[in-house]
């Protein structure tokens, strides 16, 4: 479904991604972890072309992301994305947040989009918040709405860029629960996160990044077993002790 081949990216002179190769199969959940500044977020933003890359090739469902001729808006509309800071649109209500792209990108009828929005809010447990503005919701609620907004486009895959990093601890689980449910339904997911509990529970594969390089790309059992590399081990021992 998602293929990355020898992807490299530079910010000026600084190389943020170094020859990254990996793939995500249909219905697979891949967790991307690693220390901050290792290029995880940049990597995932390259997948739907939010960040350009200079070398290599990324294809999503057979469509090449980096090609000049690719209709990026159309490709992006088929890939859901959830951000660290939720990024709900603050000037419109929750239900309008979920309707907007359905109306403008998929050209759905207003009624159809509204029904879909309410179904999704129901699903993430926020049907009663439909008419509120994002600022009136807690962080966890906002992130659940953001997941609903992405799902409204009926995506073929979902990208999560540190979806729980900006949340207070007591709100992390309500967001992870929604993600676990998604994974169990067979959604293809690429998740940048430090939540190793989540990784253990639902991930098929784990990618460990360090300094722009993919250092480990293995199954969950291999990763949490003893075969992982030294750097991944140091990283894990740091985050698992707390």
């Amino acid at each position: 479904m998602i293929e990355l081949k020898n992807v490299s990216k530079w910010f000026g002179d600084f190389q943020v991604l170094k020859d990254c190769t990996t793939s995500v199969a249909k219905a697979e959940v891949v967790v991307v972890c690693g220390p901050s500044g290792s290029g995880k977020s940049t990597l995932i933003k390259c997948v739907n072309g939010l960040e350009p890359f200079q070398e290599g090739r990324i294809t999503v469902d057979g469509v090449s992301v980096g090609d000049k001729g690719t209709n990026l808006p159309k490709l992006r509309s088929r890939i859901g994305m959830v951000f660290q800071n939720f990024e709900l649109f603050p000037h419109i209500t929750v239900v309008e947040n979920i309707k907007l792209a359905q109306l403008k990108v998929l050209n759905r009828e207003d009624q159809e989009a509204g029904i879909k929005a309410l179904q999704l809010l129901e699903r993430v447990g926020l049907a009663d918040q439909a008419e509120k503005y994002p600022a009136q919701l807690s962080g966890g609620q906002q992130q659940r709405v953001a997941i609903g907004r992405a799902l409204a486009m009926d995506p073929i895959a979902m990208l999560f860029d540190e979806p729980t990093s900006a949340l207070d601890p007591e709100m992390i689980n309500e967001v992870l629960d929604v993600m676990v449910e998604l994974a169990s339904e067979g959604m293809t997911m690429m998740v940048v996160t430090h939540e190793m509990g989540f990784a253990r529970r639902v991930a098929n594969c784990i990618i460990f990044m360090d300094a722009g390089r993919i250092e480990e790309d293995c199954t969950k059992d291999e990763f949490f077993g003893s075969e992982r590399g030294q750097r991944a081990q140091i990283f894990l021992s740091k985050i698992l002790h707390h």
Binding site: P73, M81, F83, H91, V105, R149
Partner: protein
Amino acid sequence: MLGGFDFKVIFDNIGFLVEGMQTTFLLTIVAILGGLVLGTLLALARLSPFKPLSFVAGTYVNFFRSMPLILVIFWFYFLVPHVVGHPVGGFQSVLVAFILFEAAYYCEIMRAGIQSVRKGQVYAGQALGLTYAQNMRYIVLPQAFRNMVPILLTQAIILFQDTSLVYVVGVKDFLVSADLIANRENRILEMFTVAALVYLVFCLMGSFIIRRLQRKYAT
């Protein structure tokens, strides 16, 4: 000393003054709307990755911001009839002058407004499949506009005062009407005192609204 003041002259000529105030308001409102639309387009051009477009918009802004408003008013008074090929009223020519002049200032306000919208919001719109134009129209500009409401209104108050410069080409706005009455009735002090108070009241009202909005939008 104030005993000689006779404010009856105001009430005798109230219709004439109101007419002048209507012209002032019409000029202010049309110049704001026209300037805002043109200014927003200029801001988009200025932020465009297409360098020639951004250069043209930047030159426009720098040019008009380097000109005294009164010169622009004069200049268009003579230029507009020349361009359209027949004489036009003073009102039309000052309208064009104000819109073009204000657009340069609104451009800079909207540019700051657009840049005040977080990059993450742009990403979110893009990730949903919105095109550049849709992202601007539905996500960025509404937020940019909201963030800039207090500054836009401040600019509107300045414009409201600046419209009095149409005096130089004889457009009958509020101040010119007051001046005409003052001279005709020989009540110069009374008329200018009243004119000053009227400008003061409207501008204070505007400032009050801005303070309320600033409190509302302050986050």
